[in-house]
């Protein structure tokens, strides 16, 4: 049995999803010869630390009952630096101004010899090269499957399954909220504002929706793709971004009369990065509905490969994180 110790920084929807997924997969992991031991969990109010392994079930109930996982006040950075473990999982909120607290967590983790797994886009969209170098310099793994398209394994597909191929272009729908709004506007001939309100009521959209509907979230994901797959060193500022706020039900109807739908499409082709509403033929593999995400990858050997699936959700996102954790556990 290989014991892999983990710190879980952030205990919101995704953090708790990771904990409950690890609990439900305990037997499977045992069969794989992997013992995942959580030695530190934090939220914004404090932390729980136990070098012998935290009782995840108790941690989840405490968070539900009291609003915090905290049993002590060790900070995230103190845990990362001073509590012995192999993998730091950062699932703190995405911040696109300075990437904090995720950026500091990740750099400290690499400095302390911890592998990093994350779903937090901010640090990667702002400082991808720096993070990647920090990982390489220290001979550590840096895995971030969950940052783009939730459960959909884009990076695994390109780096592992399609190894040897040259990727010549990628197009995708990477924001579930926008896809939901456009789908509802098309199906119900709803005005934009009403569809947005519905998305907010269903919990798909934030109270301040600009980040999603303005195309910013999609652009961040595109930047991570460009860095990871094309190694371009691009940042958020290199993306030409147009959101969906000006789309009318009439435009969607005109598109539909001509066998097309309008989607917020991310595109990395010929060195340019673009997020914009685009016309997609109804039968095209990119034309997925609801909150689904999709990525279509053009390669030199395999041709075009398209994968779609759930782009968000606590368990779905935890699926990608668990897969990254297992990858590292098998390789250390």
């Amino acid at each position: 049995m290989k014991t892999v110790r983990i710190s879980l920084i952030g205990f919101g929807a995704v953090g708790q999803g990771v904990a409950s997924t690890v609990l439900s997969k305990r037997d499977f992991l045992k069969k794989q010869g992997i013992d995942l031991r959580f030695v530190g969990i934090t939220d914004s109010k404090g932390s729980e630390v136990d070098e012998n392994g935290i009782d995840l079930e108790a941690a989840i109930s405490r968070k539900k009952d009291t609003g915090s996982v905290a049993t002590g006040d060790m900070t995230a950075l103190e845990i990362i630096r001073n509590v012995k473990h192999e993998i730091m999982v950062d699932v703190t909120p995405t911040n696109i101004d300075d990437g904090e607290p995720g950026l500091g967590n990740m750099l400290s983790a690499f400095g302390a010899g911890r592998h990093v797994v994350t779903s937090n886009k901010g640090p990667l969209a702002l400082r991808f090269s720096e993070l990647n170098e920090a990982a390489e310099d220290n001979g550590l793994f840096f895995r971030y499957e969950a940052t783009v398209a939730g459960a959909v394994p884009i990076f695994n597909l390109v780096h592992e399954a399609l190894a040897g191929n040259t990727v010549t272009g990628i197009e995708g729908i990477l924001n579930g909220t926008c896809n939901y709004i456009l789908t509802r506007m098309t199906e119900e001939r709803m005005p934009y504002k009403l569809a947005l309100k519905e998305a907010q009521e269903l919990g798909f959209a934030e109270t301040d929706p600009t980040y999603d509907v303005g195309g910013i979230d999609a652009a961040l994901k595109l930047v991570i793709i460009a860095n990871s797959i094309f190694g371009t060193g691009a940042t958020y500022h290199d993306v030409d971004v147009t959101g969906i706020t000006k789309i009318t039900p009439e435009a969607l109807e005109l598109a539909s009369n001509n066998n097309s739908v309008i989607k917020l499409v991310c595109e990395a082709v010929n060195g340019t990065l673009k997020v914009a509403p685009r016309l997609v033929p109804k039968r095209h593999p990119l034309a997925v509905g609801g909150t689904l995400n999709v990525a279509s990858i053009q390669t030199d050997l395999a041709g075009r490969i398209t994968i779609s699936g759930k782009g968000a959700g606590s368990i779905e996102t935890a699926s990608s994180i668990l897969s990254d954790i297992i990858y590292i556990a098998r390789h250390v």
Binding site: I247, A251, L254, A255, A276, L279
Partner: protein, 170 residues
């Protein structure tokens, strides 16, 4: 109309100018010339393909003039608009003079707006328009789209283009 003409030139200097001058004289708008030096005809002449736009009424006269000056007109054909693309525009399209936008594309001679559907929900509300543009080739289509992008940009219209269907292919 757009004409594609195959001419046969004698293999001596100055022949290309001799062939192209009359086209301009008859107000033809030359769009492309393909000169195949290596491919001589059995008659020893050099075939050249010229694509140009010209008034239909002047075509016969032009052909006659070319033949008289010793340029053999081997083939004359009307070039159809082969490439096609559709786009959607959203915004205050009517106020922004859609006619002017369409004219800009039509007046290029190599591309044309062949279909337009407009949906106007209310006087102060943004309208939506569906446009189909045809052009002689993909390259010309791209140029027409550039014009549209520029107009949309200046008039603050949202231009929704089709995804590239074969993007990045090798």
């Amino acid at each position: 109309m757009i004409i594609s003409m195959t001419l046969e030139l004698k293999d001596i200097p100055g022949q290309l100018v001799l062939a192209l001058e009359p086209i301009s004289e008859f107000q033809g708008n030359i769009m492309g010339v393909v000169h195949q030096h290596e491919e001589k005809t059995p008659r020893g002449t050099i075939p050249v393909q010229v694509m140009f736009e010209i008034e239909q009424s002047r075509l016969a006269e032009l052909t006659e003039r070319l033949e008289k000056s010793g340029v053999r007109v081997a083939r004359v054909g009307e070039e159809r608009l082969r490439s096609s693309v559709y786009v959607i525009l959203i915004g205050h399209i009517v106020h922004s003079d859609m006619g002017d936008t369409i004219d800009k594309i039509d007046s290029t001679g190599f591309a044309e707006v062949v279909e337009l559907s407009l949906s106007m929900p209310g006087i102060d509300k943004p309208s939506s328009a569906y446009l189909v543009i045809n052009a002689v080739s993909d390259r010309e289509l791209d140029k027409a789209l550039d014009i549209l992008r520029d107009v949309a940009n200046r008039k603050e219209l949202l231009l929704i283009e089709t995804i590239r269907l074969n993007s990045g292919g090798t």
